[in-house]
């Protein structure tokens, strides 16, 4: 079975003002795979993630040089609307941030503004079921989402992301604010979801990257040091710096 590319970056440089945060990043993201981006703080992994859905456009004085391909189309061109990109490439953030609306509305709103005309109740139920949240909240759909627990909120955010039917889901340290059980539930969810979506996850947690991802890319100071199958990287990395990082010999 041949894996196709869902997204790809080619020679991507990224600047915050005059500071270069990414250097010549070329990375492939396989469809229906989970790719983990790891590296010490400030290495550029979150920056790269936010380039993939043009979220960095919201920050003033930033510049991207190079290409980012989504389904073989460069999303950093004039005629591409970032709003469309963000619909096809969804995002889940580090701190769970559901809208201060009801659980139902959280999922329905995104779908509605993107022109969804079908059965909203069904969409909400399906999305929540896919995130293993339905049973826990089916009686609380009208309740304010902020009353849910942290783990539930994060799963709700994932459900919200998939309700608009993206192709790719970006996750920026999605479990770093959660307890181990919620973390485990979300990791299971990621493994479930990758059948339908391509997932790219930034994580600080080495073991999580090992548990959850198929491919891993190791970043350092804005450079990719090594990228490849997770099993290879964790069993026998090619680069000394990779080995030092994943063994925790520097952080």
């Amino acid at each position: 079975m041949e894996a196709t590319l869902a997204m790809q970056t080619k020679n991507l440089d990224f600047y915050y003002g005059t500071f270069q945060a990414l250097h010549d990043v070329s990375l492939n993201f396989m469809r229906s795979h989970v790719t983990a981006l790891i590296g010490p703080s400030g290495c550029g992994k979150s920056t790269l993630l936010r380039c993939l859905n043009r979220m960095n456009d919201l920050i003033p004085e930033t510049r991207a040089d190079g290409e980012v391909y989504f389904n073989d189309q460069n999303i950093y061109t004039e005629d591409v609307d970032p709003v469309e990109v963000r619909r096809r490439v969804g995002m889940v953030f580090q701190k769970p941030n559901p809208f201060p609306k009801s659980v139902y509305e959280n999922i329905a709103w995104g779908a509605r503004i993107n022109g969804f005309r079908g059965d909203m109740d069904e969409l909400v139920e399906t999305s929540l079921k896919k995130c293993a949240l339905w049973d826990e909240v089916k009686d609380k759909l009208k309740q304010n989402a902020l009353e849910l627990s942290g783990g539930q909120q994060q799963r709700l955010c994932i459900a919200r992301a998939i309700a608009v039917e993206p192709d790719v889901i970006l996750m920026d340290e999605p479990t770093s604010a959660l307890d181990p059980i919620s973390t485990a539930k979300i990791e299971d969810l990621i493994t479930e979801l990758k059948q339908r979506y391509t997932i790219i996850i930034v994580t600080h947690n080495m073991q999580q990257a090992g548990r959850v991802s198929d491919q891993t890319a190791f970043f350092l100071n804005g450079w990719i040091i090594e990228a490849g199958d997770t099993k290879d990287i964790f069993f026998n990395p090619r680069e000394e710096r990779t080995e030092a990082y994943i063994s925790g010999r520097f952080g």
């Binding site: 080495m206 073991q207 069993f235 026998n236 994943i246 063994s247 925790g248 952080g251």
Partner: protein, 220 residues
């Protein structure tokens, strides 16, 4: 200050344990050889008792390795080194058993007919002891090349084993009333050849620890 100081300390202790086990095994083999050469039954008894010590050390080493894996989540090279430590410990324990086999056939080796084979056995044992020593050294020094070299020495032991085997068969044929003694010595020959194989096995794992590749160093 290196990070994961605790982890480093634990690994250091693990290597010490392996070294110590190696030392105990070498000592056992040497003592066995001396006991046989000098007909020292007290020493022979010591060898049998000390085997218990080797077994205890193996359990402790395995336990320590398991604990490190559980608590430190090692990956890549660290993980391989720890797994190899466990593999080596089981090989070393078997080698320790061979020392017992040597003293068990003490009487037979002093038999008038078979006495002349003693120097050959001594040589094989010495070779084995040095192989054990050097392989452990290559492990703690993370030196796969040395490990490979040690593995090659197994050929010598194999050659000696083959020659001795033919000789023993001839001796048994010539002295049919000494079959029991002869057979015991054939077994001993076998054990010493196996010792070499065990060390070669260890060397394969030592190469694996460093490179992640599994190599075949045993000749068929």
């Amino acid at each position: 200050m290196e990070t994961r100081q605790h982890f480093s300390n634990e690994l250091h202790i693990m290597y010490q344990d392996v070294l110590q086990m190696g030392t105990l095994v070498e000592e056992a083999l040497r003592k066995a050889l001396t006991a046989v050469t000098n007909q020292d039954y007290d020493l022979a008894e010591q060898v049998k008792q000390n085997d218990h010590q080797i077994d205890t050390l193996q359990f402790a080493l395995d336990k320590r390795c398991t604990e490190i894996i559980a608590t430190e989540q090692p990956v890549a090279t660290d993980l391989r080194e720890i797994l190899v430590a466990m593999k080596i410990s089981s090989d070393l324990e078997r080698i320790g058993d061979h020392a017992r086999h040597v003293v068990r056939v003490m009487d037979q080796l002093t038999d008038s007919v078979f006495r002349e084979t003693l120097p050959r056995f001594a040589e094989m044992t010495e070779k084995g002891i040095s192989m054990v020593h050097d392989s452990i050294t290559s492990y703690v020094n993370h030196d796969p090349d040395q490990a490979r070299e040690v593995a090659r020495r197994d050929d010598d032991i194999d050659d000696m084993h083959r020659a001795l085997y033919k000789e023993l068969l001839a001796m048994i044929a010539a002295n049919p009333d000494r079959v029991e003694t002869g057979t015991a010595l054939v077994f001993l020959n076998r054990f010493l050849e196996r010792l070499g194989d065990h060390v070669t096995n260890m060397c394969e794992w030592i190469v694996y620890a460093k490179t992640g590749e599994h190599v075949e160093l045993n000749k068929a």
